[in-house]
């Protein structure tokens, strides 16, 4: 019954199988490949390790681990699933080694068995850590009695490199089968089909296996108590002084071997009901330096000063705040102020050092992110993967830590994987909190809190809304330009025209222009405030550029309709300004030649507009097709005509027909002709081109 419960408890735990590198035997039947089947991961196979016909003497198999195994609780399982009835060990022992190269000559230690059992045989302890299976002579169930032997072992976190199975011959008493045998099967042989070792847990109790000394002799009844019962991991072994010792001056001392930051300290009461009152009034002192050399304690407490005690098998958990001083050190002394004889008495002292998780890496949808001072999640991430590390020794068996994201999870979630994958929360500021587990089921007092920011998607931001608003505005501008022109056409003959144009120009500039300017600035603010994917960044930059282009278009539209500009000097200024603004940023030097003052000649908006458009086209042609590095702009007012000469040092104009830019040339000519002017282009001596536009001023 007890066995069944244990089996259930064990199988509920998350375990990891140990990989074996090699199997060595003193003898094996069949081939080396057959023997390797014992470590191939498959429980059942027709062959494995068997020893026929060597039944006269003990046989040994050594299993060499691929990596040293450090665990406090191991589960070993031997499968005998060849289909041959009762072909399992009759009499055997298991030992382990920590030698770097396990072999027959290594130093082997008895495996400290915590529990054991088998499915189709009755196992009991024999002398010298051996196990004996009761003799079976016939099959009663009708099922094939394939056996499975399991052993649970406490190994106190020693670095185990190999296991040794020794199988001893037995002598059968039954009729025809009388004689030496290695199993209780009819053919006397066993077939070990799989040897499996699983790490059930690695304690976070750093006192496990630590040396313990006592100042005075310990109690002696059938067998002398030993002080290391306090750190052997067995709650069933206890230690207390002998009757000759009167409390004062007696203490246990535990040396942890290295200085530790304590999270908590567990004092375990004995598991039976005898004299539980020896537990009360225990004084625990922690020392950083060796107290044998007179060091003062760094932390101490008088536990249960009222003489009370925990119930059988229960434990007291002490944390930093229970005592005074710094909860940190290497040596522990346990003494008593209890008048009850044979105090202090304990089953176990466990020390759990502070465990705090650390972030090793963070990925958003498989894209690694920096884990520096500030965690920023790019917009649009779907999943976050936090890779943690808990640098302290030990590994609780079923859960490594608990975590929550403040603002997302109300309750703690537990996890047994150091890789934590969560759905990415929506844009905002969050904090992931993580608290490491201890192997005794408690949570470490320290909590790692990591704030992180999930950036907004571009479409979730204020700037995006502004962009949408901006586009709407632009459409508004275009529509208003259209209506403005129609309105102008209607008012052409009226004296109100000038005032109306002025008003429209002013309004467009003040309202629409300022909005566009604001939009462009906010886009720049946004680009600096948020880290963005390169694609989003360049898209935003393009949008900002478009916004500024819209402002230029608006400027030109306003310039056109504003009656204040209905003069030749205004047109000349516009052309020079435009040439300078357009060409200089493109790396094309722009030399301007024109008079400082212009005669006061009125010029209709329509004429100005056509000239401006033709002029812009001329410059565009240069930029697109000429590869020029320099442009000379000459403006003249000669003989009642306005003359514009645009000369470049580029590669010349295209042939008369076809060729790039021809449409542009035709357009320029048509524009000038529509207002009574001319447009001509001539090759220059330096290979460049001269465009000459002439406009009669009436």
């Amino acid at each position: 019954m007890i066995l069944a419960i244990m089996t259930l408890a064990v199988s509920a735990r998350a375990r990891s199988s140990v990989a074996f590198r090699e199997v060595m035997t003193t003898y094996h039947a069949g081939t080396g490949e057959d023997v390797k089947r014992t470590i191939d991961g498959w429980e059942a196979s027709p062959k494995g390790w068997s020893v026929e016909p060597q039944f006269e003497q003990a046989q040994t198999a050594i299993f060499v681990a691929a990596e040293p195994i450090e665990a406090d609780l191991l589960n070993l399982t031997m499968f005998f699933m060849s289909g041959r009835p009762n072909a399992s060990f009759a009499y055997f022992s298991i030992s382990y080694t920590t030698d770097a190269q396990p072999g027959f000559q290594s130093e082997w230690h008895d495996l400290p068995m915590f529990n054991f059992g088998a499915t189709t045989s009755n196992l009991r302890r024999g002398p010298g850590n051996r196990l004996i299976a009761d003799e079976v002579s016939y099959i009663v169930t009708g099922k094939i009695p394939d056996n499975m032997i399991w052993i649970s072992a406490r190994t106190q976190r020693k670095a185990i490199t190999g296991f040794r199975i020794q199988v001893y011959p037995v002598v059968r008493n039954e009729g025809l089968l009388r004689g030496p045998a290695m199993s209780w099967s009819r053919d006397r042989d066993f077939v070990l089909t799989e040897f499996r070792v699983e790490v059930v847990s690695t304690t976070t109790n750093v006192a496990l296996g630590a040396p313990v000394t006592a100042t005075h002799p310990l109690y002696f009844e059938f067998e002398k108590m030993t002080a290391d019962a306090l750190t052997d991991g067995w709650p069933s072994t206890i230690a207390h002084p002998s009757e000759d010792v009167t409390g004062k001056g007696f203490h246990f001392e535990i040396d942890l071997g290295t200085e530790r930051a304590f999270d908590h300290l567990t004092l375990r009461q004995r598991g039976d009901t005898f004299n539980l009152d020896r537990f009360g009034k225990m004084r625990i002192c922690i020392y950083q330096q060796d107290p044998k050399e007179g060091a003062a304690p760094t932390w101490q407490v008088l536990n249960r000063p009222d003489g009370s005690y925990p119930a059988q098998g229960e434990a007291d958990i002490l944390r930093a705040s229970n005592g005074e001083g710094v909860f940190h050190g290497r040596y522990l002394r346990i003494s008593t102020e209890n008048p009850v004889p044979l105090s202090p008495m304990l089953a176990e002292v466990e020390v759990y050092e502070t465990r705090t998780a650390r972030l090793v890496s963070l990925k958003a949808d498989d894209r690694p992110l920096g884990v520096g001072s500030e965690l920023r999640i790019p917009p649009g991430a779907l999943r976050l993967a936090f890779q943690w590390e808990i640098p302290q020794s030990g590994k609780p068996y079923d859960r490594l830590y608990r975590w929550k994201v403040a603002g997302v999870n109300h309750d703690w979630q537990t996890s047994d994987s150091l890789l934590l994958e969560i759905p990415c929360p929506p844009a905002g500021e969050f904090q992931v909190e993580i608290q490491a587990a201890h192997s005794d089921g408690t949570w470490d007092a320290s909590v790692l809190r990591l704030p992180f920011t999930v950036s907004a998607r571009f479409t979730q931001t204020a700037a995006f809304l502004w962009l949408i608003g901006g586009v709407t505005l632009l459409i508004g501008v275009l529509v208003s330009r259209y209506f403005a022109r129609r309105k102008i056409a209607r008012l052409e003959a009226k004296s109100a025209l000038s005032a109306e144009r002025s008003r429209i120009a002013r309004n467009m500039h003040d309202d629409v222009g300022a909005r566009l300017a604001q939009l462009a600035v906010l886009q720049d603010v946004f680009a600096r405030e948020h880290s963005m994917a390169p694609a989003a960044k360049s898209d935003l930059a393009a949008l900002t550029a478009h916004t500024r282009e819209a402002m230029v278009s608006l400027d030109e539209a306003v310039w056109t309709v504003n009656p204040r500009n209905d003069t030749l000097s205004s047109l000349a200024a516009f052309l020079m300004q435009h040439a300078d603004h357009y060409l200089t940023p493109l790396g094309i030097a722009c030399r301007l030649d024109g008079p400082n003052t212009w005669p006061d000649v009125p010029l209709r908006a329509g004429i100005r507009h056509e000239v401006a458009l033709a002029f812009k086209e001329a410059l565009q042609n240069i930029v697109k097709h000429s590869a020029a590095s320099e442009v000379e702009l000459t403006l003249r007012h000669e003989a009642g005509r306005f003359i514009i000469r645009v000369a470049d040092n580029g590669c010349g104009f295209p042939e008369k027909t076809g060729g790039p830019g021809e449409d542009g040339l035709i357009n320029m000519r048509q524009r000038l002709e529509s207002i009574g002017g001319t447009c001509a282009w001539l090759p220059r001596e330096n290979g460049g081109t001269l465009v000459e536009m002439k406009l009669p001023l009436s």
Binding site: H509, R564, Q577, D580, N596
Partner: protein, 213 residues
């Protein structure tokens, strides 16, 4: 605030644009510290004396007194204050008037804010940008209206610098052509501005002062 940041104010009646610019200037790591936004010339003239900034960005088109007059009065009160025109309008006569009023440069609202920040630093450090067509107008102005005192007229060297500017040459090229350092070119330009200001400040106040009231 970082002590090396440049304290500035905006004199701008379009609040959304001004707030956007303020936000940009006050981003972390900015070299500009935007202290205040004044919606009118009158407000600026009351508030600035309480805590004068190093640089003022002034819009031309303000309710009440316009930007030109605002600059003229501010320069009267604080000759050290650097005024830059920040305008929607690229209209020569307005810009030129602003320069005459005492501005030492002008910026268009469509200029990217990072460039505005650069221009503020250049202006604070004594730089005076002058484009070819502004140079042209400066020369035209001195031709049209001879200065009241001889030492307010342009020197031969200043005239030379302006001529080269009109030809579209950059400061560096001018420095090379004249065999002087680029700083000397800047100094000449600055002096031209100074003369322009002295020459025309009273005129500006008379010209625009009447309008706003």
């Amino acid at each position: 605030m970082n002590p090396s940041t440049i304290p500035i104010v905006l004199i701008e009646d379009n609040e959304p644009y001004a707030r956007a610019l303020e936000k940009f200037f006050n981003l972390p790591g900015s070299a500009i510290d935007c202290r205040a936004i004044y919606g009118s010339s009158e407000q600026a003239l009351v508030e600035i004396p309480k805590n004068p900034p190093a640089v003022a960005l002034v819009d031309i088109n303000l309710p009440g007194q316009n930007g030109m007059e605002c600059i003229a009065q501010l320069k009267e009160l604080y000759p050290q204050l650097v005024c830059l025109v920040l305008t929607m309008y690229e209209e020569d006569h307005l810009i030129f008037d602003a320069l005459r009023a005492g501005a030492c440069g002008y910026l268009l609202k469509r200029t990217p804010p990072a460039e505005i920040a650069d221009a503020i630093q250049v202006a604070r450090d004594g730089g005076s940008p002058m484009s070819p067509h502004i140079a042209r107008q400066v020369v035209g102005f001195f031709h049209r209206s001879p200065p009241p005192k001889p030492d307010h007229s342009l020197t031969a060297r200043e005239q030379q610098v302006l001529d080269l500017l009109i030809d579209g040459k950059a400061y560096k090229e001018i420095a090379h052509d004249l065999g002087v350092s680029i700083d000397t070119v800047r100094t000449h330009v600055r002096k031209v501005y100074d003369k322009l200001h002295i020459h025309s400040r009273t005129e500006i106040i008379l010209k625009f002062g009447k309008k706003g009231r």
